[in-house]
């Protein structure tokens, strides 16, 4: 019973946040709604016995990605025009398309004979079994992901850094885009 109540509360939280992300006109409201949605997902993971995933979600998404997105919004938008900073287009068409996709997914999920075991075995805390699997069965993907993180880190620094040498190239580029717009 408590599980049911918790699930519906978390689902409401998650979907409310996601809907506000999708429909809000103001992009700062969208970012904070994304926070609500992520916290709902943390509770969903906890209900699925995935304690390590819940904490990873909290630390990585809420503590890392969301702060990064908020910083990006603050740096790239003027606060004065924040209310019109997230314009949408062709809303009706996208809404109908997404509704059709959702109805299709809904009936597929309802009808499909999922091979779920009736009584799930209790795994207990999964952190130690995840650690075991990461260092035995999934050792190679684990190492590759760590290399990928390094590549991403260096790539982000290289892309975002201000290049003095390419200054001339940059002004050229913006001049070209100006030209394209006037054409």
């Amino acid at each position: 019973m408590a599980f049911t109540v918790m699930f519906y509360c978390a689902a409401l939280f998650t979907l409310y946040g996601a809907a506000m992300v999708a429909f809000s006109k103001n992009i700062i409201y969208s970012a904070f709604s994304l926070l609500i949605s992520f916290i709902g997902v943390v509770v969903i993971y906890a209900l699925l016995d995935a304690d390590f995933l819940a904490i990873a979600q909290l630390v990585l998404y809420v503590g890392g990605i969301l702060v990064l997105i908020l910083f990006a919004i603050m740096l790239t938008n003027k606060i004065s025009n924040a209310s019109s900073s997230n314009p949408s287009r062709s809303q009706f068409l996208s809404f109908v398309t997404v509704l059709v996709i959702f109805v299709g997914l809904f009936f597929t999920i309802i009808k499909a004979p999922w091979q779920v075991s009736a009584g799930t075995q209790e795994l207990g805390p999964i952190t130690d079994s995840i650690g075991d699997a990461l260092l035995t069965k999934y050792l190679l993907p684990f190492e590759i992901v760590s290399v990928l993180l390094l590549v991403g880190l260096i790539g982000a620094v290289v892309i975002a850094r201000k290049e003095n040498i390419e200054k001339a190239g940059n002004t050229n580029l913006s001049a070209t885009s100006e030209q394209g717009r006037s054409l």
């Binding site: 998650t14 979907l15 996601a18 992300v21 999708a22 992009i27 969208s30 970012a31 994304l34 949605s37 992520f38 997902v41 969903i44 699925l48 995935a50 390590f52 995933l53 990585l60 998404y61 990064l68 997105i69 990006a72 740096l75 790239t76 997230n86 314009p87 949408s88 287009r89 062709s90 809404f95 398309t97 997404v98 996709i101 959702f102 997914l105 809904f106 999920i109 309802i110 999922w114 779920v116 009584g119 799930t120 999964i126 995840i130 699997a133 992901v145 990928l148 993180l149 991403g152 880190l153 790539g155 982000a156 892309i159 975002a160 201000k162 940059n170 580029l173 913006s174 885009s177 394209g180």
Partner: protein
């Protein structure tokens, strides 16, 4: 159905995926698109965790979910770096319709 089963979690993930897709289709702001991608990745991770839980006994689904979180973090980092580069090079504009000089 009174008891919560795998189906409930799957429908929640499907709804989250659809809202993310709507965000991707409707938005012009590059950061708005990024938030839609985040919602979609989260929906996929919920699906992985759901099947890991309801199949029982195996921990593989949780690990895929974990890798999904890490890959989403890398994706967001690179995408925001690209957004900053766009902002600097296209007259402080990050609307994806305006950034089209590569179009033939």
């Amino acid at each position: 159905m009174a008891t919560i089963g795998a189906v409930h979690f799957l429908i929640l993930a499907a709804a989250m995926f659809c809202l993310g897709l709507y965000c991707l289709m409707g938005r012009r702001n590059a950061i708005g698109l990024l938030m839609g991608i985040e919602l979609i990745v989260n929906a996929a991770n919920i699906n992985f965790a759901t099947f890991a839980h309801y199949r029982g006994g195996e921990v593989d689904g949780y690990i895929f979910s974990l890798f999904g979180i890490v890959l989403a973090a890398i994706g967001v980092t690179i995408a925001l770096a690209i957004v900053f580069a766009l902002y600097r090079n296209f007259n402080k504009n990050i609307e994806v319709d305006e950034v089209s000089i590569l179009r033939g």
